[in-house]
């Protein structure tokens, strides 16, 4: 086969492309562990000997920008994605099974929501939150996340629900199980890969979102780590070590979260579709 004749070519090209692609990230990683004064003259050099000064500086900030941000980020992200997974699984299931015209309309409306950038509707959202008395609260931010990201969750679950045989649900129902029990005990476990995708994607997006928390939480209710990154950029424009360390630390939790769930993730994303 062709593979054997070019056996040296593939790994070579793959490594080269991978290295070129990785270069910008390499810059961040090496400079996190380099003394600040070394970064501008030698941006690409290896950090020898490595130092933890930049990381320490971020963790021991007197205003606790990172620590408080981390707590808020974890709370907002974890709660938002848990609620989102549950609600969009149910809604996705309903829309995938229902034949009603109303369901179709709901589906199209939800799909439109996928492509609306938050900034465009942020001003009226603050109006809604003010009316509900939820402005500058974590609850408000979480609810907005739920409303805004529900379409994406629905999209993923819908595709996946179709791959679950209807007969399974019917059989369970004939056994006398209630709709809710059927959904929780039969359908939902089968949707696990899709749940993993929803958790990862929305986790990444919500964790990384910066404009929504910036505006909805306001300055006095603490910030999230991503807002913290933005602030760190403003304060230390020339201190790349501090900025990179902040970015590195802010990204670490979500990266770990992804790695933990990645096996299920692709399956859920391509769902019934790729199975063909």
């Amino acid at each position: 086969m062709d593979d054997r004749t070019h056996s040296w070519l593939r790994p070579l090209v793959a490594v080269f492309v991978g290295a070129a692609f990785f270069l910008p990230l390499y810059l961040v990683v090496v400079n996190v562990f380099k003394p600040g004064a070394e970064i501008v003259p030698h941006p690409a050099a290896l950090p020898l000997p490595p130092t933890l000064d930049n990381v320490d500086a971020v963790l021991s900030r007197p205003d606790n920008l990172f620590t408080f941000g981390l707590i808020n980020s974890i709370a907002v992200t974890a709660l938002s994605i848990t609620i989102l997974t549950v609600l969009s699984a149910m809604l996705g299931h309903y829309l995938a099974r229902s034949k009603r015209v109303l369901a179709k309309v709901a589906m199209v409306t939800l799909l439109c929501g996928l492509m609306i950038p938050v900034p465009v509707i942020l001003e009226p959202i603050t109006g809604v939150l003010k009316t509900l008395g939820l402005m500058t609260t974590l609850q408000g931010l979480i609810l907005v996340n739920v409303g805004y990201y529900v379409p994406f969750g629905v999209l993923l679950f819908m595709g996946f629900v179709r791959s679950v045989p209807l007969e399974l649900e019917e059989a369970a129902e004939l056994d006398g199980a209630s709709k809710l029990r059927v959904f929780w005990q039969v359908v939902f476990p089968l949707l696990r890969p899709a749940s993993a995708s929803v958790l990862i994607f929305l986790g990444v997006w919500i964790w990384n979102d910066f404009l929504t928390p910036l505006i909805l939480l306001g300055p006095d209710s603490g910030t999230t780590v991503t807002v913290g990154v933005y602030r760190a950029i403003g304060q230390h424009q020339s201190d790349f070590g501090a900025v990179f360390a902040f970015m590195f630390l802010a990204t670490l939790p979500i990266l770990v979260f992804y790695l933990a769930l990645q096996k299920n993730f692709v399956k859920g994303l391509t769902g019934g579709a790729v199975k063909g």
Partner: protein, 328 residues
């Protein structure tokens, strides 16, 4: 916390009250879907399943959109009250607004570039990495990392790489290019640099999805085709490519979403410049007009046009998705 507790606990409670079945539900099912005629009417009860999700969407997305629509017919400006009804004037002004037109064109350019290049690049890299050994698995992780990073972080990184005295240009000078391009300072280039940055971030996503697709192509099919004497390209076209159609759809949807939303990169890297509006996108233009110029009324008209465009694209995308379902 009461709000969220209420929202979720309500669902987990088994004894939740159910609305009675809606009359006429599921009546349109066709003969070949016999099973659904049986389950159809019962589905009416399921609306409890649909409600919480839809409610959140309605309150936090649809109502704000409605408010935007309403504002677009007013001269709303929080710094210049009172707000008056101005009819279609904002939309009339939009027609002649060169900047908005440019922002629209820029958004389309970014979206198309991202959709094409991330798809093609993602497919090529996926084919390159479609081997089970450790090296390739590690490389996959590298390609996926940017997807997990925030746009703010990515913007800071690429700004450091692409400024005129940035890393890329010092590299180019090192290999003898005397006058390397101003990736972000040249008004003819900056938009493409932005599009590239977004492409770079999304590439890994496409790689992963295509890899899943490729792994779904049965080896027997490949081998059968190769026994039949089909060349490499013919094999790809006739065997692999059709199997990748769903992956293509998923990627395209994701890339369209990302392209249309482009905002953070502009805000952090170029502020819409260099020069008037060279890299301004629709989302950026809306925010600038609303928060910098205080013209909420006018920015709402922009947002409305944008939403109409988004709705059109969404409907087309939905068609694509449905066609896929038919062929599968």
């Amino acid at each position: 916390m009461t709000e969220t507790q209420h929202g979720t606990r309500g669902e987990a409670r088994p004894a939740a009250p159910r609305p009675s079945p809606a009359p006429g539900a599921g009546g349109t099912a066709r003969a070949r879907r016999r099973s659904s005629t049986r389950i159809g009417p019962k589905l009416g009860r399921f609306s409890l399943f649909a409600l919480p999700g839809l409610l959140a969407y309605v309150v936090f997305v649809l109502i704000p959109i409605g408010m935007t629509g309403y504002y677009s017919f007013t001269n709303r400006n929080p710094f210049n009250p009172p707000t008056k009804w101005v009819g279609l004037r904002n939309y009339g002004d939009l027609l002649g607004d060169q900047e908005f037109r440019q922002a629209l064109v820029n958004t389309v350019i970014i979206t198309v570039i991202v959709a094409v290049f991330a798809n093609v690049g993602g497919l090529l890299i996926a084919m390159l990495l479609d081997r089970p050994t450790r090296l390739y698995v590690a490389l996959r992780a590298i390609f996926f990392t940017p997807v997990v990073l925030s746009a703010v972080v990515i913007s800071v990184i690429w700004q450091a790489v692409l400024t005129d005295d940035g890393l890329l240009n010092s590299l180019l000078r090192g290999i003898g290019v005397d006058d390397p391009p101003g990736w972000l300072s040249d008004p003819d280039l900056a938009l493409y640099s932005i599009a590239w940055i977004i492409t770079w971030q999304m590439l890994g996503f496409c790689v992963v999805v295509y890899l899943a697709g490729l792994q779904g192509v049965p080896r027997e099919l490949q081998e059968a085709a190769s026994i039949d004497g089909a060349g490499r390209f013919a094999r790809f076209r006739n065997v692999t490519w059709p199997m990748l159609a769903p992956a293509l759809t998923i990627n395209t949807v994701m890339l369209l979403i990302t392209g249309f939303k482009a905002y953070d990169q502009i805000q952090v890297i170029t502020n819409g410049g260099p020069g008037a509006g060279t890299t301004s996108t629709m989302a950026f233009q809306v925010v600038q007009t609303a928060f910098n110029g205080n013209h909420i009324g006018y920015s709402s008209a922009m947002a409305a046009v944008m939403l109409a465009l988004v709705a059109t694209v969404s409907v087309v995308t939905l068609r694509l998705l449905q066609r896929r379902e038919v062929t599968q």
